[in-house]
Structure formats: C-alpha cells, structure tokens
Amino acid sequence: MYRKILVPIDGSRTSTRGLEEAIRLAKGRNATLVILHAVDEAVVAYGGDIVPVYINELLESMREGGKRIIAKAVAKARGRGVKVKSLLVEKFVGPVADIIVSHAKKQRADLIVIGTHGRRGVTRLVMGSDAEGVVRKSPVPVLLVRSREQTRRAKR
C-alpha cells in the first residue's frame, strides 16, 4: 500500500522510535524507506556565543554527525531486510518541517513516519514543533510516533 516511506531522523531516541515503526511497516511489504537527516545550520547561526573561527569546524562536525546518524539508521533498516535510501540535507533555510515536506514531494513518498519530539522540542510543548509542522504541511499521510520515554513520563 505504501511504497515509499519518508523517515526524517535527528538521531534522538524519539526519531529512532519513528524509524523502528517505519521498519515494521515496510518489512516484507516491498516498501522503500527514505531516511532523511537535515543538518540544521541555523542552530549555529543563532548561537551567539560561538567564536566565528570555530563555526566551520562546528559545521563540519555537525555534518559528520549527520552522516553517522544516517549510517546507523541505514544499517538498522538493512539489517532487518528493508530497502533503504538516504538523504543528507545541508544548507537550507526555514523550518525543518518545510524541508521534510519538500523532500517528501520530490521523492514521491506516499507516507511520512516521524517520531514526535525531535531534539529541538521543548518539554513544555507536548508535540515537537517540527513534527507538528510536518502534519500541517504534508500532502501525504503522516504517522506520528510518540517516544517511549515520553510515554513513560506522561503516565507518571
């Protein structure tokens, strides 16, 4: 039913939950996962107290980190016998949600699976703002998966 599932990840436990759910959905059903990680350079741009000299180094390490996050996710999906493709997005402007939605369109994904609460999520907000933005803007169905950690906390 779903041939191409876009899975945005940021390396957090929450996004890993999303990935796991996506793997379960795709496994044995001939679907391809498209794993996307966006290196959010804005984090650097807004961080006022970083000495400019280090910015390039910092960006480089973020890119390296992004590659590692993707490699780990790809290995996980492959290990479960799921077809997988990956995308590392650098240098973008605007909210991460926009990047996710535009890549969903470009890749002709027919489903987006996303863990709620990315790294940027503030605990005060019940839903990660990126995840909410994706639901608002996506042309295709979006499966939102709450992280287990979050669930446990909510139960208390």
Binding site: S138, P141, L143
Partner: protein
C-alpha cells in the same frame, strides 16, 4: 504491527478518506478496526438564563445524532467486511469528540489511531482541525493523520 486500530469518524469527507485508507492499511497490517462516532452531549446551561434545553428536546437531538452516527458506522462496517477486516464500533456520548476518541481508544485497547486531518469543524482554510490537533498532542499511541 497494530493489533487494533481506532478510526474515529464524523462523516466529513476527510474522515471518509481516513476510513477508506485506514481500512486498507488495517487489512495490510492484519489489524482489527474499531469505528467510533462521538455523540456530543448538549450542555444544559449554555443557552442563557431562563432558557433550559428541555430533557425531551435533548433526548430527541441525541437520538438523531446517534442515528447519524450509526449510519456512518454502518458504512464503515460494510467497507471493513468487504476488506475482510475484523470490525466493531462504538457510538457513544462524549463530553467532546476528543474525550470520546481517547476514551474509546483506551477502553478498546487500541494501539493506534487513524484519523483525518480535519473534520466537520475545520474550515477549509484551517490546515489541521482542533480535534485532530488535540489527539496528536495527547495520544500516547501512534496517530496516522490522513489528508
């Protein structure tokens, strides 16, 4: 992967989309489906002082809402039967549709909710309905939002 999925409907076109796609997905995943229609309770005091909704009028309205709900759920049951998906339904009074959805999901041990991005209450310009928004914010089980 999901044993039982809750699909709430209010009979709106987006809800219908969620119903159709949701049942197909449930079939693929081997999940059972619980259909749900919220019969909203009519508050007594809201219509101003000196005017009370008479109990008979209230009962009548509720009866009508229930009939509408049952009709929508019957349509769902038909689709599920055709797809070979196990189906049951709940058409019950709830304080708000949101409360009804969460309550039914809990009581029926659903492990996912499939729903439309906005229902009857959503203005076309609004991208996400208030009920869906609330469910997304509060649900501990995965929510699949259809557009």
């Amino acid at each position: 992967m999901f044993r039982r999925v809750l699909i709430p409907t209010d009979g709106s076109p987006t809800a219908n989309k969620a119903v159709k796609s949701g049942i197909q997905l449930a079939k693929m995943l081997g999940s059972a489906v619980t259909g749900y229609y919220a019969v909203e309770s009519i508050p007594t005091g809201v219509y101003g002082e000196g005017y009370m909704f008479s109990n008979t009028a209230r009962a009548k309205l509720e009866k009508r809402a229930k009939a509408v709900g049952r009709r929508h759920l019957a349509g769902m049951a038909r689709l599920a039967r055709r797809a070979g998906v196990r189906f049951d339904s709940v058409c019950a009074r709830a304080q708000t549709p949101y409360d009804g959805i969460m309550d039914t999901a809990r009581r029926k041990y659903c492990d996912a909710i499939f729903m439309g991005s906005h229902g009857r209450r959503g203005i076309a310009a609004m991208v996400m309905g208030s009920v869906t928004n609330k469910v997304l914010a509060k649900s501990r089980i995965p929510v699949l939002v259809f557009r």
